[in-house]
Symmetry: C2
Subunit: 502 residues, 2 copies
Amino acid sequence: MNEKFAELKTRLAEIHDIDKIHWVLNWDQRTMMPHGGAAVRAEQLATLEKLRYEKFGADDLGRLLDDLRPYEESLPYDSDEAGLIRVARRDHAKARRVPPELRAAMARTASVASEAWIEARKQSDYSLFLPHLQKNVELKHKYVECFDDADHVYDILLDDFEPGMKTAEVRAVFDDLKKDLVPLIAAIAQKSDAVDDSCLHGQFPVDRQREFCLAVIKRFGFNANSWRLDPTVHPFASNSCTTDIRITTRYHQDFINAALFGTMHECGHGLYENGVSPALERTPLCRGASLGLHESQSRMWENLVGRSRPFWRYFFPKLQAAFPSQFGGVSMETFYRAINKVQPSLIRVEADEATYNLHIILRFELEQEIMEGKLALRDLPEAWNARMKSYLGLDVPDDAQGVLQDIHWSSGMLGYFPTYSLGNIISCQIWEKALAAMPDLYDQFERGEFMALREWLREALHKHGRKFTPTETLAKVVGGPISVKPYVNYLQSKLGDIYGLN
Amino acid sequence: MNEKFAELKTRLAEIHDIDKIHWVLNWDQRTMMPHGGAAVRAEQLATLEKLRYEKFGADDLGRLLDDLRPYEESLPYDSDEAGLIRVARRDHAKARRVPPELRAAMARTASVASEAWIEARKQSDYSLFLPHLQKNVELKHKYVECFDDADHVYDILLDDFEPGMKTAEVRAVFDDLKKDLVPLIAAIAQKSDAVDDSCLHGQFPVDRQREFCLAVIKRFGFNANSWRLDPTVHPFASNSCTTDIRITTRYHQDFINAALFGTMHECGHGLYENGVSPALERTPLCRGASLGLHESQSRMWENLVGRSRPFWRYFFPKLQAAFPSQFGGVSMETFYRAINKVQPSLIRVEADEATYNLHIILRFELEQEIMEGKLALRDLPEAWNARMKSYLGLDVPDDAQGVLQDIHWSSGMLGYFPTYSLGNIISCQIWEKALAAMPDLYDQFERGEFMALREWLREALHKHGRKFTPTETLAKVVGGPISVKPYVNYLQSKLGDIYGLN
């Protein structure tokens, strides 16, 4: 049996290598590759996809997994070995459901649709994008048909990003969230003059921004031996293995937030991957458990750490020293209030901590209606604009700032959006546990010490990688299922304080 | 038949993708990868090797190539289609000769030996390297045994780098070269004070070096849309496709030559790959025909262009402007003489144009004696030092500056060295043809114009890629076989002028 397990490990390691090579090539394309390399790079990635399918979709891999069932059952559920067989079996079964021709059609259509989306957004002309979105959605329906009946058609899509999570669960969670969030945002809107964020706009030389961002994330665990930080248009986190973590950020000359909080955000993603147990290296378990759990880590370092008073008690004097003409005459409290300002706005990626979730709920609802066939795609801009008015009180001036703003639908990534807000919610559940375990955490932050938090997260969450389901993983960390209470408490308390609501 | 040919093209394209992915990962490792990524990267590269062998060594690929023989014979020899089948058949036959276990053993041993070599060189202790070199050579003998008897055991090794070239041919060529080169170097040694190169040493800020190097190679054809230039310890040229060319260079703060001529050298390699016909993209023909021909291009741009008076008539004022305190008071003639100074020295990569070849001949002779079993590896340092004394009149103070200086033997690359001097020789054969075709070439250089040369090289040489054998390719460009005469003429004329020998 050990021989069969060894064979499984070897085969999965090769497949994992193919995946990680894909990641490195993708990172290269977005940070380093000369533009002229794009056409051949697309072919190289397609070849990797094909190789992956040949290896992972193979009949005899299925038989090997079947043969290993008694061995798996003889092992403790928590063991790496049992986890590897369990997860590989689930991944394999799922991969086999989808014919390679459909996968190829989805990839090709998404690639064409992404190009069309760029042009449509540039011209703010939804009609240019509509036929491509229609094709993407048609293929999504074909994709859904590959699987057994689910409670809701959207369950199948959600499962690709948040395995095991049901649409009904997300709805219940988001309804809970909306119940408290909408009145909170309304109350803040009454006091919109209470916070002045003008100090965040000015002149910020890029090299000094980079230097400051590096100084911050070095205290989070970034080190040159295992990490890189590079500039990109669309920030992301990637990696080749647990000791080769690559994050990117973008620098605006006139606004420091993008780089500052973006870097902390991506570093949070990087720390999750960096913290997976080395024993899981080169296995399919060597990755975060879901996008929601991943986002809980990026949002934690960005918001719960990076937008906190204790953090800035340590870093604000350093920020002033780096940008003396900008912040020399600004108090820490003014700065703290500025970076936590709440204001309804049109663009999701620029939204504040509170209104961000309404952007997500809007998309989540529209996606369900699209997949249920209740909303015709030609009517999507109208539905978008109506909901923006209803949730955020905003009139959408054009589709570029409305329905065309995000890349997700052009890439065929329906079912992805909810994980952003799930991440926000989960981050506060984990945060409560971390604070309970380390009551002096904020004192540590004031001294510029973040390693205890990182170690705690590593031990509680990161090291497991994908060994357990997202639900099991969350239960291990917080002792129960997803719950909005800690997140709502956090927002009410922090924003109530800033806006004088309490 | 067209269907079978289409299948061959598809399969070869995938194999080529795997090769180019390997190149990109290798480039990444040497320029971008955090050190911590090394162990897993080695596994990723090994997986790619394995995938390549599974695809390229497959029985049915051999059958497909057999089936295509009548089709090949029905096509013009010069056609891309015939070339593709012909080259693929040769590559396939060669690949099938070597069992994957031997390939794996060679790769593993080379990897360990390279690490040992780094340490041995650091300590200048040959005994630390000897057992690893012995293993490399043992495996080389096993490798040689995979092939039919050759005229000389070394032929098999040479064929990996200079396909079709025989040891006896190289010997004859090098004997010719030595005959004229040794007296030339001796005559120059009598006038060693004639050239003062002190102006090349001083203070050269790295950013300005990079800027100047970029200004030079932009006139050679470098452009941001299809090229990158990055810093590395050991400069090299790589690429992902003809429109994604990546070269590297190294900057010494106190000596400008490394970056200046190194960049032109690697740009020459890049121009070759950049100039292969787009019709050959994603085929095994999309590459230079041999290392010798490749080196002819790098050496041509480095030496025949970059160390010429007309080149510096255009660029020297710009160099003075970039480094005014260094070159403001230096005449162009002084600078020209300095960059062409001939002086026997211990280290190959720092050698001048003339003595460089003696370093190569020394290695070529030792490699043959090793493979013939005439020279025991434990006696290698002694043999090295004796020959350095005889050829260059130098005493080798330690093995770090002697037998341990190059990486090649640690990586198992025996048979590689001769291609460096073959490149020098070929570069002048091609140069004579280029000058005959464009009599005003030097006038163009004086105006900073290099595109006519690039276009001529592209049309005469680059576009063919690997469609023809190196011998056929050279004959297409210069109308005959390799010949040292143009190279000797060039050195005698140029150095005779500088050293007042004529």
